[in-house]
């Protein structure tokens, strides 16, 4: 499947991974440093200066792992860390991790830098210098088998599972054939699909692990009192979680499922991967995904260079660090919100295009955005970011395919 779009170019990192963007990240290490960090990032008003952070103060291994994964994501070229000074996040260890990745990194500690105004001024100076350094990097050729693409749905309705989601599934089938690693997620929104997924797993052992992780999700949601079903889903025609699940599931396409990963695990090669975002152990942190952006952030932490976001009701979100491509499922929503959408999958319902044609259109869009074109949410400056408490145990040996040497 070759299309006449610009060839991919990537920014090569010390670990060999390539980024499709050269983002400078300003990261607050506790909510108390959020305002100062935001002012530093806002000063630049630049689509490639992004604000991320962890609001918590108390120790959390998951947050630490996520911050390491995010600040060394292939799309990230340089990092400024902003600490209040007394929070639990191990800023020196995080800094060393980024240094080891070969990226320029600097650290400001507000309690040692004279407070708000002087830290903002120092941050602006440091980010300015790092941007100059980033501008000197020259991109290198990159191929589709070096790309990682995620997909999630948000603001789903009765059209999502008929148009946008199966169209993304067709795009995923093309990408998997190209050797791209494709990631779909939210085991809580796959309740009812576990047996079908198990049949698609490349090994029986992986099939059992997939069934077990959906059972874990169901237990988690039972304890919380309800599943991943929002009032807008009902307004849009969805009635039950299993109905929503079947619609969500069609995003995965028809390729074999190669592996099961958890947030921060990088797919070891091309193929289709399921990302388990429901915490391990007894339910204790509240809902696994308090908003769509929590899932996007986890996909980015797992190395996704860009995310395909399908919506029926009409979401406008984007994300820090990597571009989000919007695929609108509902033709009526598209009429209202076309300025926020990259692809109108609603035209499948109005008879203007086939599912296959829209699948091809999404595939071309992925390649264009990977080649440097801005997605709509990216150009609008969307940089939503949210990171909360969770806990995960490392994945087991049956979760990933054995690497061919």
């Amino acid at each position: 499947m070759s299309e006449s779009v610009a060839p991919l170019q990537g920014f090569v990192r010390a670990d060999g991974r390539k980024g499709i963007r050269n983002v400078l990240v300003v990261a607050y290490l506790v909510e108390c440093a959020h305002h100062v960090s935001r002012r530093i990032a806002q000063h630049f008003d630049d689509l490639d200066v992004h604000l991320i952070g962890f609001p918590g103060c108390f120790p959390n291994q998951y947050a630490s792992r996520m911050m390491r994964a995010l600040t060394t994501h292939p799309n990230v070229g340089a990092v400024l860390l902003v600490s209040l000074g007394c929070e639990s996040m191990d800023r020196d260890a995080l800094r060393e991790h980024i240094v080891a990745s070969g990226r320029p990194v600097d650290l400001l500690v507000i309690q040692e830098s004279g407070g708000t105004a002087t830290t903002i001024a120092a941050g602006i100076e440091k980010v300015g210098a790092m941007r100059t350094e980033l501008a000197r990097q020259t991109p290198v050729p990159m191929s589709l088998d070096e790309l990682v693409v995620g997909t999630i749905c948000g603001g789903s309705d009765g059209t999502s599972g008929i148009t946008a989601n199966p169209a993304v599934g067709r795009c995923f089938d093309h990408l998997v054939a190209d050797g791209t690693a494709c990631v779909f997620e939210e085991t809580g929104e796959l309740i009812g699909c576990e047996n079908i997924m198990a049949e698609r797993a490349v090994t029986p052992e992986l099939g059992e692990l997939i069934q077990a992780c959906v059972a874990k999700a169901e237990r988690y949601y039972q304890t919380m009192g309800f599943g991943s079903f929002a009032p807008g889903n009902a307004d849009g025609g969805l009635t039950t979680l299993e109905e929503k699940s079947m619609g969500a599931y069609s995003k995965s396409g028809a390729s074999p499922i190669s592996g099961l990963i958890k947030p921060g695990d990088i797919p070891p090669g091309g193929g289709l991967y399921l990302l388990d975002v429901v915490p391990d152990g007894e339910p204790r942190f509240g809902f696994p995904n308090i908003a769509d952006n929590a899932e996007i952030v986890e996909m980015i932490a797992s190395g996704c260079h860009l995310t395909l976001f399908t919506t029926g009701r009409g979401s406008v979100v984007g994300s820090a660090i990597s571009p989000v491509i919007k695929v609108c499922a509902n033709p009526e929503t598209y009429q209202r919100l076309s300025a926020d959408m990259d692809v109108n999958a609603g035209k499948i319902l109005t008879g203007e295009a086939s599912l296959d044609a829209v699948g091809e259109e999404i595939y071309r869009r992925v390649k264009a955005v990977a080649a440097g074109e801005r997605s709509v949410s990216e150009a609008l400056g969307h940089q939503e970011f949210i990171l909360t408490y969770k806990s995960f145990e490392p994945i087991g040996p049956g979760c990933l395919p054995v690497r061919q040497v």
Partner: protein
């Protein structure tokens, strides 16, 4: 993958031959007429895009089948062409969160039968 085929009108989609519900491809006004299995029907209420209606008469307890798989059970009997939604069907797994349930102080969780 499953293909769409319109039944009696391009306004209704049959997603899978085993399905006992149809999905609206566009918003339909109250009073819209359609033909289901040779029977003329009139919509008793407006139906937004993406909603479901019964393909045939069904009884309380019957499984609703969409995409060729069960997506829940009926709480009340439905006539052909009748709207199938929160008021007359429920999940076989977990209760669906609605604005109404969000207003209640406590939300009793459903028993799982899986």
């Amino acid at each position: 993958m499953r293909e769409h085929s319109s039944v009696s009108s391009d306004a209704l989609i049959l997603l899978h031959p085993d399905d006992n519900v149809l999905v609206t491809a566009r918003s339909l006004p109250e009073g819209a007429t359609m033909t289901l299995d040779g029977q003329a029907l009139v919509l008793t209420g407006a139906l937004p895009v993406g909603h479901k209606l019964a393909r045939r008469a069904m009884a309380a307890g019957d499984k609703i089948v969409k995409y060729g798989v069960p997506i829940g059970s009926l709480l009340a009997p439905v006539a052909p062409g009748e709207w199938v939604h929160m008021h007359n069907m429920t999940s076989d797994y977990l209760a669906s969160h609605t604005r109404e349930s969000g207003r209640q102080a406590t939300q009793p969780s459903q028993e799982s039968n899986s």
